[in-house]
Subunit: 243 residues, 2 copies
Amino acid sequence: MKVKSLDRSPSLPEEIVASLTSALHAGELRPGDRLPSEQALANEFGVARTVVREAISQLKYDGVVQSRVGVGAFIAQPQERTAFRISPACFQKRKELLKLLRLRNGVVIEFAADAALARSKRDIARMEAILKEMREAIADSEHGAERHFEAERQLIHVIAKMADNEHALNFIVMIDGQIAEKLRSVAVKNTKATELAAVAIEEQARLVEAIKHGDPVAARDKARKHYDNAARRLADRADLADV
Amino acid sequence: MKVKSLDRSPSLPEEIVASLTSALHAGELRPGDRLPSEQALANEFGVARTVVREAISQLKYDGVVQSRVGVGAFIAQPQERTAFRISPACFQKRKELLKLLRLRNGVVIEFAADAALARSKRDIARMEAILKEMREAIADSEHGAERHFEAERQLIHVIAKMADNEHALNFIVMIDGQIAEKLRSVAVKNTKATELAAVAIEEQARLVEAIKHGDPVAARDKARKHYDNAARRLADRADLADV
DNA sequence: AATATCAGGTTGTCAGACAACTGGTGACCA
DNA sequence: TGGTCACCAGTTGTCTGACAACCTGATATT
């Protein structure tokens, strides 16, 4: 029905980028090193120069390489990078996934305090609607787990939006979007939903309450309690696949 | 001497990326919209199709657009993005810079606690050497401010490294590298160094102490005190240029 | 010995071509 | 009339070859 044909034959530039970044990650390419010329890479990979150029242009976009006309392309210093990127490889290992989750949670926790300071009535109404949706989801034996999962995400997004820092918002949305895709199936499957969800909802209700009261310290505290617990509950689950 | 010829004539693909992203940021392009065909864009911008392709390949790399053979290229949903990027435009406004600083500080504060849990003797020695460098820098009337600035950055990097989360480390190094370039001149110029620096060093010494004792709560607390204060001191400075 | 010139290599850009693929149109047929 | 199918124009992905601008190092010249 929804097989969706996950062919995904990776494009040539993608493969070259992957090859170069893995070489970089493996230490075969180090900051300051000069890349082979575009023509040489094209020959090596058996593709046209345009393909190599597209690959290198992506690396340049991230500040991972810098090129000088007439000279060549060079691996830049780590501090020169202009993008934080999540590669598919990050999700291969369970550990990596949990570390990304930790990073997302850390930012959310920190900015929950800012949210408490900048809250508006609209925001509060929004959050309470989300809590209501969570509570209703418990009764939904069919899609309840999925609804709860999505509601949790929405709460995070609302908090991030409240904090009045678009960079933090972008960051949270980006990470969350990436890990959510991987976590959804785990969160939905095999969930002995109700009792765990009830605890989680209580935690989040306290967080919302703190934000509502405009108490940044309490908001941070409640946020930490919930998101640390949520991460622990997830880590304890045996069915979080490790490839 | 070190003028270094900042010519920086932006490349054609760069300009097109900038044009498209600004159109996207301005709401002229919205998620789900279809981009003009590569040939149409090439005509519009007066460049070759290869240039347009390099630009779009960069956008695809970030998950900002997705393309399908035979159909076209489309603006993706925000949750689809795979990269958090700092564009040069972020530094034009003083406010943006402070928000980026807030984001960096938030992550550092949060992971200072993790650092306290995962500290090693090597790390502690490293941190104490950095504190020593800061204290010595006070006496250096010529390069003291710059030395202090760099030492503060190194302390952040060491803490990030300690926390055993390479994603957080990457993120901090990236953001810090970007804002440092913009802050260094401000931090160094017109610094009535000694008295402010002494306060900052004391704050950081307490942070190091907390990490040394393996106390995550104290580490987080001290980190928050220092980095919030540092941000406030910076924001209070009148010479932080606003373009 | 110091300087000017040149040749080769490298990146940036251009132009044109073709394959694979998609969506819709219109012809054809039952 | 209604459904099926071949076809066509448009699009992306890739390839090829070319040239300009530029840099480096070697060579020739003074």
